[in-house]
Structure formats: structure tokens, C-alpha cells
């Protein structure tokens, strides 16, 4: 009895925290998604109206497409580059720790600060990127205001943000691969490339799976780069905004919290489905010891 009591006391902080800051907001969002908010804050039960409106809203489809593009491109880009860099650092090049710190810096940099820097880099008139392109005779585009480029500009920043954390986790995974397996592969006649693809990469798949799942969830919820670089009034916003930004716009700019809640719940379901799919598919490519 006493043991059970103290067990509940010890788990109470996490249970209360989870209930207050995760379950209650989720329940509130679910409730809100079935309501409509008036200009003066009056709430009206509307049933499935928000959801039917959502299904007919072209802006939602556009945001969904952008969400998928950002998630797929940034996860693929960041995980590929992070793996490549982790492998390089794992080889033990001179100054490994310095490179590790440099590559991890974006993770600990304030999103607002890095977005400002990127905004300057992307500036079509005075930005470093276009200045560099002009040196080789290329007239650079308006990265953040041209509708053809805005989404990809956001993707690039998202990749840059995600590389550091992925690289550190993958480096830890690489260091967990026993040296004797590389030596055995070496004796078996495998060169560095064959060793990587036949031995290292399969053994890295549990770590890769973790990085892919967490990066995907993060990419679906990406907000900072769009808000800070393109902005709610940005000319190219339609071509770059994702579901989470649309949720923000509906909920906090337009003030329709019911519709915003419906959008964010759809996003929640998409993330849950994609994550479940990833867990189901892992049987085919993740090798656990």
C-alpha cells in the first residue's frame, strides 16, 4: 500500500505536467475544432462545419502540399547530409571536435537570429548569395519574394537547421558500431565503400530511423523560417506557407480559432499516421541486433 502510494507520488509530476500541458490542450483543440468564434469572442457549436469547410478550402490543399514538400525535401536533405558529415567526422579527420561544434551551432542558435542572417543572405539586392552568383555572371532570383523560389528557400534553411542535431546523433550511432566488424569486413575483402554500404549503414539503421522519425515530426511543424523570413504579409507566402503557418494565420491573425483548431488537428492526424507508417515500414529496413 505504502509502496503503491509513493509510486503514484513519484510519477505525479510527469502525469500532472502531461495532463496540463499536453492532454488538456489537445482536448481543448478537439472541442474548439467543432466551434466557431465570433468577432467579439463568442463561441458557437458548429459540429463538423469547420471540417467540411476545410475540405473545400484551396488554401488548405496548397498548405498541405507545401507541408509535404518541406517535410520530404528537408528530411531527405538533412538526413543525407548529416549522415555524410557524420561518416566524415567518424573517420577521425584532424580537428574533428572543431567541425563538430561548427556543424552543431545552428541547433543552439536562436531561430530569430539565424532567420535574420538567412534573410540577409537571401536578399535579392544586397544578399551574399546573389553577390556570389553575380561573380560568375548569374543574375540571382528574389529568393524570398519570388513564388518559384520561396518554398525552396525555406527548405534550405530547414535542412541547415536540422543537420547539426542529426549529425551528432548519427555520429554517436556510428561510434557504436564495433570496430571489429569493420576489421572483419576489411579482412573479408570489403573496401571502404562496400564496408559502409554492407556493414556500417545497416548497423546505423536504428539510429537513422530515430533521426528520420524525429526530423519528420519537426519538419511537419516547421514555423520559424516561414514566419521570420517570409512573414505573414510576405508576397510569396501562399507558395511557401504550410499547415502550421495556416493554423497560426487562421487562429491568431484572422481570429477564427475553431477553424484553426480543425487545421491543426488534421496536421496532428497526418503526423500520427506518417509516424505509424514509419514504424510499420521499419521492419523492412531497420536492423536491430
Amino acid at each position: 500500500m505504502n509502496v503503491v502510494f509513493w509510486a503514484y507520488v513519484l510519477i505525479a509530476p510527469i502525469v500532472i505536467g502531461e495532463a496540463l500541458f499536453a492532454l488538456w490542450p489537445l482536448a481543448q483543440s478537439i472541442y474548439l475544432s467543432f466551434t466557431s468564434w465570433g468577432v467579439f469572442g463568442q463561441v458557437r457549436w458548429t459540429g463538423l462545419e469547420n471540417y467540411s469547410q476545410l475540405l473545400e478550402d484551396p488554401e488548405v490543399y496548397s498548405a498541405l502540399r507545401n507541408t509535404i514538400v518541406i517535410a520530404v525535401a528537408s528530411v531527405f536533405g538533412s538526413v543525407s547530409i548529416a549522415t555524410f558529415l557524420a561518416v566524415l567526422l567518424n573517420v577521425g579527420v584532424r580537428g574533428t571536435s572543431v567541425y563538430r561544434v561548427l556543424l552543431f551551432l545552428p541547433v543552439v542558435t536562436m531561430p530569430a537570429a539565424s532567420a535574420m542572417v538567412w534573410k540577409w543572405l537571401y536578399n535579392s539586392d544586397i544578399g551574399l548569395l546573389n553577390s556570389a552568383l553575380s561573380v560568375v555572371g548569374i543574375d540571382g532570383p528574389a529568393w524570398l519574394t519570388d513564388k518559384s523560389y520561396a518554398l525552396w528557400s525555406v527548405v534550405i534553411v530547414t535542412i541547415w537547421n536540422e543537420i547539426g542535431i542529426g549529425m551528432i546523433i548519427l555520429l554517436a550511432g556510428l561510434q557504436g558500431v564495433p570496430k571489429s566488424l569493420h576489421e572483419a569486413a576489411h579482412l573479408d575483402g570489403a573496401g571502404p565503400v562496400a564496408t559502409f554500404f554492407f556493414v556500417t549503414l545497416p548497423l546505423l539503421t536504428p539510429t537513422l530511423f530515430f533521426v528520420v522519425v524525429t526530423s519528420t515530426i519537426g519538419a511537419f511543424q516547421m514555423f520559424d523560417a516561414i514566419f521570420l523570413m517570409i512573414g505573414p504579409e510576405g508576397y510569396a507566402l501562399d507558395s511557401a506557407q504550410n499547415l502550421i503557418f495556416l493554423f497560426y494565420k487562421q487562429g491568431f491573425i484572422i481570429g477564427d480559432k475553431g477553424y484553426a483548431a480543425a487545421i491543426v488537428l488534421v496536421l496532428f492526424l497526418i503526423i500520427a499516421l506518417v509516424t505509424a507508417l514509419q514504424f510499420w515500414l521499419q521492419k523492412r529496413w531497420v536492423h536491430y541486433e
Binding site: A184, D188, G189, F198, L203, H287
Partner: protein, 346 residues
């Protein structure tokens, strides 16, 4: 099959000299065991033969070809690692065939080699399993199978039995020896277990602190150890040593005990006798019993002779209580005498 020649090989890690001018000749088909305490350089030497460590000085030849600069894969050797180093994401068959697939051998040839190795090692029913689904002994066999399918000139074993329990170790010891007798491939085997070395080797290389202390057959090393280190390392329980000096009456220890010695025994400062070479003798020296360890087939007496802690091993069943004496005498033909530096003199 091939000879292996290690000629004045040295190894430095920075300033630290791990191997000092080591030379050993290993004949074709020979089973050689490198044995010594941790840190003696035996695994380093094995890894240098494999090509996994660079050679700081000297030469290593396999089959008459100097291999100092030859990459591991081209040395025609196969190695069994201490932790087996099986690829966890591959089945037993895939583990065994990995090197053959890399060589792009025809599928039928690969299958034939795998089946043959599996038959030799009793792995036929395990080919589709993953390493995690195998016991320690089975993993060990797969590691050997992976080596066998390559049909190498030399097998290298790096403490392959150290992760197994005592019973399985004895069983695998016999299996490895049987495998060697069957395949007759030159084998270099590293262990710190002198029993493993004694029971498996054609030739033992005893190492300490990066130097070779003695090379010889197991019984050579047991019967005529070159120095006190080898004498103490080979044989279990270890040899008993007494310091003192040879007199006309026998060997007088520093605390005044007179130990019998053959007539004309050379001048010496250390007297060694193995526990199993002490005999019960009513007229012998009084060995004060501290502990008796009967195993059924023999009895080990752990006790004191004067101030010296010594062991005795007897076929007889001894009934004695701690604190009482049993009278023992050394077998004079089997006494080992060493000088003050520990070098054998008789």
C-alpha cells in the same frame, strides 16, 4: 597453407614500445599459440600478421612473401575475433558467404563452400538464423565457418574462447584442434590461458612485455622452462619457488630450510618445484596445511613450508585438518634451478 616468418618485428605506439625485435618461425600446417599475460603484445603481434596494425620495424612474411605493405584482404589469411565479429544483420549463411560474394564467385560455388563448412562445423540447421538467435558456442562456430570458406593460407584466432563458459571452452578447444587436424591450415592462436596453449599447440610462444621469453613444444616448456617467468606461467597450479643458495647438502632457502637437490646440482639462487612433483613422504619436510581442495581425482594442498606459501598436488586422498602437517619431498629429477636473474641453470 603457408609458412609464416616474423623477423625482428617491432611495434611502437608513440614512445611506447609494445613489441621489441620479435622473431618467430612458423612452419607450414603448424598450430602455434601465442600466450602471455595481458599487455604482453600477443594480440598486437597477431593483428600485425593480419594487417590490422602497421609494422614499425622488421618483416613479416607469409608463404615466403613479405607482407608488410600488403593490405589485409590480400594476405590470404582469415581471422576469428574474440567477440566473433559476426555481422548482426546477416544470417549465418550470409555471414559465411560475405567474402565470397564480394569476390563475385558463382552462386553455386558459394553454396557448395557454405554447405561444406556448415557440414564440418555442424551448422547445417542454423544457416537461416541471425547471430542473435545463436548460443555463444554456435556463434563461435559461425565465426570459424566464415574463416573456413575462404580457404586461407593461415588462420588467426584472437582469444576466441574467452567469452564462453568453462565447459563450452573445453568442448570448443577440442573442436578447433580437430578442425586443424582435418584442414591442416597453418594456425596462429592467441590466448592468455596457459591450459588452452598447452592442450592445443604444436608450438607455444610465451611472451612478456613485448619480448618472447621462450618458444617450444608444450612439454618442452613444461619440462624445461627457460626462466622463472615461463616456469611460473606454464603449469597449473603454478610452480613453487624458493630463494636461497645451493650448498653441498642441498638447497638452503633464505629462511634456513634445506631442500633436497641432486648431487652435483649447479650453483643457483632460485629453486623451483611444481606442486604435482611433490610426493608424500613420512620422512619429508613438514608442509603446514592451510586449505585442502579435494577434486576427487586429486587433492590440492595449499599451505606453508617455513615462511613460504606453497601448493602441493597429490593423487592420494589426504585427510588433514588446517594447521596440521603433511610430510612431503620433492622429486629430485624434476627440480628446476635458476640463477638470481631467473634464468634456468640445470
Amino acid at each position: 597453407m603457408a609458412t609464416v616468418t616474423i623477423n625482428k618485428v617491432g611495434k611502437y605506439y608513440g614512445e611506447f614500445e609494445a613489441l621489441k625485435q620479435v622473431s618467430v618461425d612458423i612452419a607450414d600446417s603448424e598450430f602455434v599459440v601465442l600466450v602471455g599475460p595481458s599487455g604482453c603484445g600477443k594480440s598486437t603481434l597477431l593483428r600485425m600478421i593480419a594487417g590490422l596494425e602497421s609494422i614499425s620495424s622488421g618483416e613479416i612474411s607469409i608463404g615466403g612473401r613479405v607482407v608488410n605493405d600488403v593490405p589485409p584482404t590480400k594476405r590470404d589469411i582469415a581471422m576469428v575475433f574474440q567477440n566473433y565479429a559476426l555481422y548482426p544483420h546477416m544470417t549465418v549463411a550470409q555471414n559465411m558467404s560475405f567474402s565470397l560474394r564480394l569476390k563475385r564467385l558463382p552462386k553455386l560455388e558459394i553454396k557448395s563452400k557454405i554447405d561444406n563448412a556448415a557440414r564440418i562445423l555442424g551448422l547445417e540447421t542454423l544457416l537461416d538464423r541471425y547471430p542473435r538467435q545463436l548460443s555463444g558456442g554456435q556463434r563461435q562456430r559461425v565465426a570459424m565457418g566464415r574463416a573456413i570458406v575462404r580457404d586461407p593460407q593461415v588462420f588467426l584466432f584472437d582469444e576466441p574462447l574467452s567469452n564462453l563458459d568453462a565447459k563450452l571452452r573445453v568442448q570448443m578447444r577440442a573442436e578447433i584442434k580437430e578442425l586443424h587436424q582435418q584442414l591442416k591450415t597453418t594456425t596462429i592462436y592467441v590466448t592468455h590461458d596457459q591450459v588452452e596453449a598447452m592442450t592445443m599447440a604444436d608450438k607455444i610462444v610465451v611472451m612478456r612485455d613485448g619480448v618472447i621469453e621462450q618458444v617450444g613444444s608444450p612439454l618442452d616448456l613444461y619440462d624445461r622452462p627457460a626462466n622463472t617467468f615461463v616456469a611460473g606461467f606454464i603449469g597449473s597450479p603454478s610452480m613453487n619457488f624458493f630463494e636461497g643458495e645451493m650448498t653441498t647438502d642441498g638447497f638452503k632457502t633464505t629462511d634456513g630450510i634445506l631442500l633436497p637437490a641432486s648431487k652435483g646440482a649447479p650453483e643457483s639462487q632460485i629453486y623451483g618445484i611444481r606442486p604435482e612433483h611433490l610426493r608424500l613422504d613420512p620422512n619429508g619436510l613438514g608442509l603446514e596445511v592451510n586449505v585442502l581442495e579435494p577434486t576427487g581425482s586429486e587433492t590440492q594442498v595449499i599451505g606453508k613450508l617455513g615462511a613460504h606459501a606453497i601448493n602441493g598436488l597429490f593423487r592420494e586422498r589426504i585427510q588433514a585438518i588446517p594447521g596440521s602437517n603433511v610430510n612431503v619431498t620433492p622429486d629430485l629429477d624434476l627440480v628446476h634451478l635458476f640463477d638470481s636473474k631467473g634464468k634456468r641453470v640445470n
